[in-house]
């Protein structure tokens, strides 16, 4: 019996999509989807460039490792204020010139590309140092929150019962306190111990949303057949959690942590702005903005550069998170471009004729 199956347009699109994912593992599919997300890829590139620029420009030390930076000033130096060719008699204006065709002297970096502040400190060095700090804080918060959140959520979701009740009540206690309040309470008194400490303590309170998410994911996954199969085969709880459930929940975790980090960098800048975060003489992006906001009219560059860095970093992370979400979402369907349809049509036709 052979009934000619009518090829519906929807089937054809499915055929194209199936063709794309044939013979690929889940992680490969996710990776491919992510790479195809243009905004996310641009963001990855920009973020990486910022990382390299920021961490190579100044001397960087992490314990015994000392990496000298290529930039000529440190953020503590106070070179002489530059008077030449500044409009309106302001001192220390930026020498960076990115528009080669307007005045005809090409791209110039100059002595102080981002200008100088009112006492002559090189602003490029300051911004680099501030961005370093903000990025470090962001990563530490993200890492600690991811660790605690995943562990708490996994334990609560997997074991249920009294462990779940205990852990989730504790989560409820912390989640009710607004992040800015808990951050200020900690930051105002811990901030002078250094940015790393601050980030560490903030991370200890930033995991609550993530743990709820992970718990929900574990609650659904633990009822699935493959978990039953593993249990019947005699796998230990530890093995089930790490080998069977966690890999399936990793998408949700990664996306949530990315967005958490975008929130973390804004939280750090906000706290530093309020004076409850990183404190002088250390530098962070929020702190620089708060220190120089009065000089917006006279020295606008003191305001623009740190802002540009905060926004770019937060924007990139948000876009990467969005790209990751799309990549991990199995229901996500890419809009087929004309080219896909043309090449896919042929593939589907060939498939149809060989059936």
């Amino acid at each position: 019996m052979s009934i000619e199956k009518e090829v519906m347009p929807g089937d054809k699109e499915d055929a194209i999509r199936n063709k794309e994912t044939e013979g690929l593992s889940q992680s490969q599919i996710v990776f491919r989807r992510f790479v195809r997300h243009r905004a996310a890829m641009i963001s990855v590139f920009v973020l990486l460039s910022i990382f390299i620029l920021v961490f190579s420009a100044l001397d960087f030390s992490l314990g015994p490792i000392q990496i000298p930076g290529w930039w000529k000033f440190s953020y503590l130096d106070t070179p002489e204020l530059r008077f030449e060719d500044c409009p309106g008699g302001v001192t220390g204006c930026p020498t960076l010139d990115m528009i080669p065709f307007l005045d005809g002297d090409g791209v110039v970096v100059g002595q102080h590309p981002f200008g100088q502040d009112n006492i002559g400190r090189d602003y490029f060095a300051l911004v680099m140092r501030g961005t370093q700090r903000s990025l470090q804080v962001m990563i530490i918060i993200g890492f600690i929150a991811a660790l605690i959140g995943t562990v708490v959520g996994a334990l609560a979701g997997y074991f249920r019962g009294w462990i779940d009740a205990l852990l989730m009540r504790f989560t409820d206690f912390i989640i009710v306190i607004p992040a800015i309040i808990i951050g200020s309470v900690i930051g105002y008194h811990i901030g002078n111990l250094g940015a790393i400490f601050l980030a560490f303590y903030l991370g200890l309170f930033a995991w609550t949303g993530l743990s709820r998410l992970v718990r929900g994911e574990f609650l659904t996954l633990r009822e699935r057949e493959f978990v039953d199969a593993a249990r019947v085969a005699g796998a230990s709880s530890r093995r089930i959690i790490f080998k069977h459930i966690l890999p399936n929940a990793i998408g949700v975790i990664i996306v949530a942590v990315t967005l958490l980090m975008a929130g973390a960098i804004l939280l750090e800048t906000a706290l530093s702005y309020l004076g409850f975060g990183v404190t002088s003489p250390d530098v962070s992006l929020g702190l620089i903005i708060s220190q120089y906001q009065e000089s917006f009219v006279t020295r606008p560059w003191l305001f623009w550069w740190p802002g540009v860095f905060i926004i770019t970093i937060a924007l990139c992370i948000n876009f990467i998170g969005d790209g990751l979400r799309d990549a991990f979402d199995p229901r996500q369907r890419r809009k087929l471009s004309l080219k896909d349809k043309l090449s896919g049509k042929r593939a589907a036709d060939v498939e149809g004729s060989t059936k």
């Binding site: 009540r169 607004p178 808990i182 975008a262 804004l266 937060a314």
Partner: protein, 518 residues
């Protein structure tokens, strides 16, 4: 249901106890109120330290001190409720009582505007999925997510206040600005109202020219100094409102609804323009607004009885809604008439947009001002913070309403609705939009509560003295009672909002049932 609510409230109380305990101890451990005195070289430092320790009960460890504080809170059952005193021996309750209205005023308008704009943009964005408009909105939303509010605030102060005041002292719109504004509005509306290429080009051209003409007329009529809608503007806007609302709610094909809406709108906005001016001068403003709020549905009801024979419900709804929009316009028009006296007053002196503060105390210094001028004063002080808060928070609504609507549009019942031949307007507004609003409502409720805590930075930047200021004072002054007072308000609001959101959710969506066991 009742037992469910009771159980939930019980859980809330437990959560509030737990979290206040954590915060109290955290704050007590991390702060040392004696720090300043320890380093002090004054001779009586030791005595001061002792008296301070006695006042703050520093002899007790923090967990025990928490229970002292808690005893005051639990006094709510025995009638001697107290949140303690601040370090300056002020009652925390009175401090909160003056601060809360300020913060609510600050965030209220911003939240409402953010919801309306955000949902509207999100819906258009979802309907034009993968269009340029959609992509720009997505980018815009992410950009707003990434903006620190204190950074935006500096920009707003410079460009919306200082530069705009400069502009107002000599209101001349240059050609380049005129062209730029017109082009932007043309591009925006061409993105919103899509069609084939020819239609898009036509819309773009039409809107651009119309905007340019409007700005030119406003400029020529010296509108920025003496703004008003006037009877001509109100008549035009009444007709436009009636058409717009009818189109959205029942469709203009429903002649009865259109007629009723037009009748109510014109009765209030055009025929009744001058009588309404007299009504707005009524001295008891609260009574007046209440009266108007009741009057409009009454008018809608009468109109629906006159114009419609069957199906009077939707007709009345449309007419009433139009009436309310006209009321808002009338209110704005009256405020605009107060603009010139406000600008001319000595306290303002032609620089109306302030960068800081919540009202001008000097305004009443030079003689009495009428209600409209002082309301206008409050309004102009609200402009910058409202814009800043709106910009930051409406991005979330764009993303959320877009996502929800897209999900709803994929449901089978939407396909059914389309298949049975309903107009696109009915499908979107009646079938899709209503179901989109269900999850959105719950988000909104949670947002209202959360924003009180979130306004801390905004208050600081714009120099308002609300909850944020109290909080600031509490942190920098090691003032535990004050800190706990602020926390208790925000936390109670947050947990209550969560409960209300859950209950609303189950009330709006019959698929979700609460309280039916775990």
């Amino acid at each position: 249901m009742l037992s469910y609510i009771a159980r939930r409230i019980g859980a809330l109380v437990v959560i509030l106890f737990g979290s206040s305990f954590i915060l109290y101890n955290l704050a007590a451990i991390s702060a040392d109120p004696l720090e300043g005195l320890r380093q002090s070289t004054e001779p009586n430092a030791k005595a001061l330290m002792e008296s301070l320790s006695r006042d703050l009960r520093l002899d007790l460890p923090p967990p025990l001190r928490y229970f002292l504080w808690l005893r005051g809170v639990l006094g709510i059952f025995t009638g001697n409720f107290t949140l303690g005193e601040t370090r300056e021996y002020q009652n925390v309750m009175t401090e909160l009582g003056t601060a809360i209205p300020v913060t609510v005023r600050l965030v209220f308008a911003a939240t409402i505007i953010a919801i309306i704009l955000g949902v509207a943009m999100g819906i258009v964005s979802a309907l034009r999925q993968y269009s340029r408009f959609d992509y720009s909105m997505t980018f815009f939303a992410f950009l707003m997510f990434s903006l620190p509010i204190f950074w935006v605030a500096v920009l707003l102060k410079q460009y919306m206040a200082i530069e705009f005041n400069n502009f107002l002292s000599e209101p001349n719109i240059s050609i380049s600005w005129l062209v730029a504004i017109s082009l932007v509005s043309g591009i925006f509306w061409a993105g919103v109202i899509s069609g084939n290429k020819r239609q898009v080009a036509l819309i773009f051209l039409g809107v651009t020219v119309a905007t340019a003409a409007l700005i030119w007329i406003l400029d020529a009529a010296n509108w920025f100094i003496e703004p008003q809608l006037g009877i001509i503007g109100m008549t035009l806007l009444s007709v436009a409102t009636a058409y717009g609302i009818t189109q959205l709610s029942t469709g203009v094909a429903n002649k009865e609804a259109l007629r009723s809406a037009l009748a109510v709108a014109l009765l209030l906005g055009a025929v009744g323009y001058f009588p309404m001016q007299a009504v707005l001068e009524f001295s008891n403003k609260g009574l007046m607004f209440l009266g108007l709020l009741v009057l409009v549905p009454l008018l809608g009801f009468i109109a629906s009885r006159i114009f419609a024979r069957v199906d009077q419900g939707p007709v009345m709804r449309t007419a009433t809604l139009s009436g309310y929009v006209i009321l808002v316009l009338l209110f704005l028009d009256r405020l605009m008439q107060a603009w010139l006296p406000y600008m001319e007053s000595d306290a303002v002196n032609f620089r109306p947009i302030p960068t800081i503060g919540q009202s001008k105390a000097e305004l009443t210094l030079y003689g009495d001002v009428n209600w409209w001028v002082s309301t206008l004063d409050v309004m102009v002080h609200l402009i910058l913070p409202t814009v800043a808060l709106t910009l930051i928070s409406f991005a979330g609504y764009i993303r959320y309403s877009r996502g929800t609507l897209l999900e709803v549009l994929n449901q089978d019942y939407i396909r059914t609705a389309r298949a049975k031949g309903l107009t696109e307007r009915t499908v979107i507004m009646r079938h899709a939009f209503r179901n989109t609003m269900i999850p959105l409502t719950t988000i909104m409720v949670a947002d209202f509560a959360g924003i009180v805590g979130g306004a801390i930075i905004t208050e600081r930047v714009f120099g308002w003295t609300g909850m944020g200021t109290l909080f600031n004072k509490a942190i920098t002054g090691f003032d535990l009672n004050l800190l706990m007072g602020v926390f208790l308000v925000t936390a109670t609001l947050a947990v209550l909002a969560n409960l209300i959101a859950d209950l609303l959710y189950s009330a709006l969506d019959p698929r979700i049932r609460v309280g039916s066991g775990k």
